[in-house]
Symmetry: C2
Subunit: 216 residues, 2 copies
């Protein structure tokens, strides 16, 4: 199912233990718009964990897909067959590689999101100088949205202006230093929070606090 | 174990079926210097297939790792724990992301290889203009080697001149149009062949033919 901004919160379950991930997803009780999973969890728990997580809401497979088109198609097909609602791919591997992900997403009624810039320091070396071109690539290829960093709200605002109707998912909120409200004000449709929620004593309460910040 | 060029052949088992992959690895009988696995196989067969493939030679985990440093470390750690001898990461995500992979490889006595350019058409858009910078990034970070395309031998030769002592793995030989001998002449230490071997009626004979081309 396509992502629809209600709470505007996506929870990144950056964990290695499948049971822990499922337990937190259950505690969240559908309060977030989606759960984001990454390879560390998939490699340890297996791809089928997506099926279980799906019971608690939409699942975004943050696989940062960045291979040749044929391999990208195969990776995406497996993620969607396992139940993922959306996949995250890199734009810098080129428009044919991105198109392969988007085409595969279309077949399953799912979505593909393209990374334009990331939240870590090294992202300024090669990604940031090309961020606008990657936004344009994503738009032309027909991506549902893009990924842009909550840690750099001024960049996020610039990217928002170029992104047209594409949805923006902004990682880096909380432990990485990004502020939820500022990211939304800068134009993000969703913020992605990891440790700040899964690492909290009460993940539900922590999620609720983020959602309240977003409503203010 | 670090990759040592003997046959100079790496076989890419770009398959989705674990039993088929194992059967081909067995047929190859250690004739190749390594077997390369990618996510489509890992997602369908599970990470543990690396342990089984390892009985037939070195295993390169071609995960094109391209995330934030912490996530990269976690992905690499799992690949090495499962028995991978080397990991392939992207340079584009920045030097801190690459360093995370190299540091994790060191802990396990394993290797990290950095993608500088790829063999598909879209690689000319963002990767190719930065290929030399990515070679330099890999060298400074202490990578064991880099990935450069057999499909563009003139580029491979340029990259060889910048790569110093780093090993070069060249994908795209066979079905994608690259020629084995030309890639080695241009400076590759290993060529990577997929379909041309796993898709052959007799994978062992096909591998032997490639190895003979490399010796000529």
């Amino acid at each position: 199912m396509p992502l629809v901004p209600r709470s505007r919160l996506i929870v990144a379950l950056d964990l290695m233990d499948g049971y822990e991930a499922l337990s937190i997803a259950e505690k969240l009780g559908g309060i977030a718009d989606a759960i984001k999973v990454n390879y560390p969890l998939i490699l340890s728990a297996g791809l089928d964990i997506i099926k279980d997580l799906k019971k608690h809401g939409n699942v975004v497979a943050d696989f940062k897909v960045a291979d040749i088109p044929n391999t990208n198609s195969l990776i995406c097909a497996q993620a969607f067959k396992a139940g993922a609602d959306a996949i995250i791919c890199h734009g810098f591997a080129g428009s044919d590689s991105v198109k392969a992900c988007i085409d595969e997403a279309s077949k399953y009624g799912c979505e593909a999101y393209v990374v334009t810039e990331m939240s870590h320091p090294g992202a300024v070396e090669f990604l940031q100088p090309h961020a606008f071109e990657l936004v344009e690539l994503a738009r032309r290829a027909g991506a549902s949205g893009i990924i842009a960093p909550a840690t750099r709200p001024e960049r996020l605002a610039d990217i928002r202006r170029k992104a047209g109707k594409m949805k923006i998912l902004a990682p880096g909120v909380g432990a990485q230093g990004g502020e939820a409200r500022r990211a939304i004000d800068a134009g993000a449709d969703f913020i992605i929070v990891g440790r700040g929620i899964y690492g909290a004593d009460d993940p539900y309460e922590a999620a609720l606090e983020f959602i309240e910040q977003l409503r203010r």
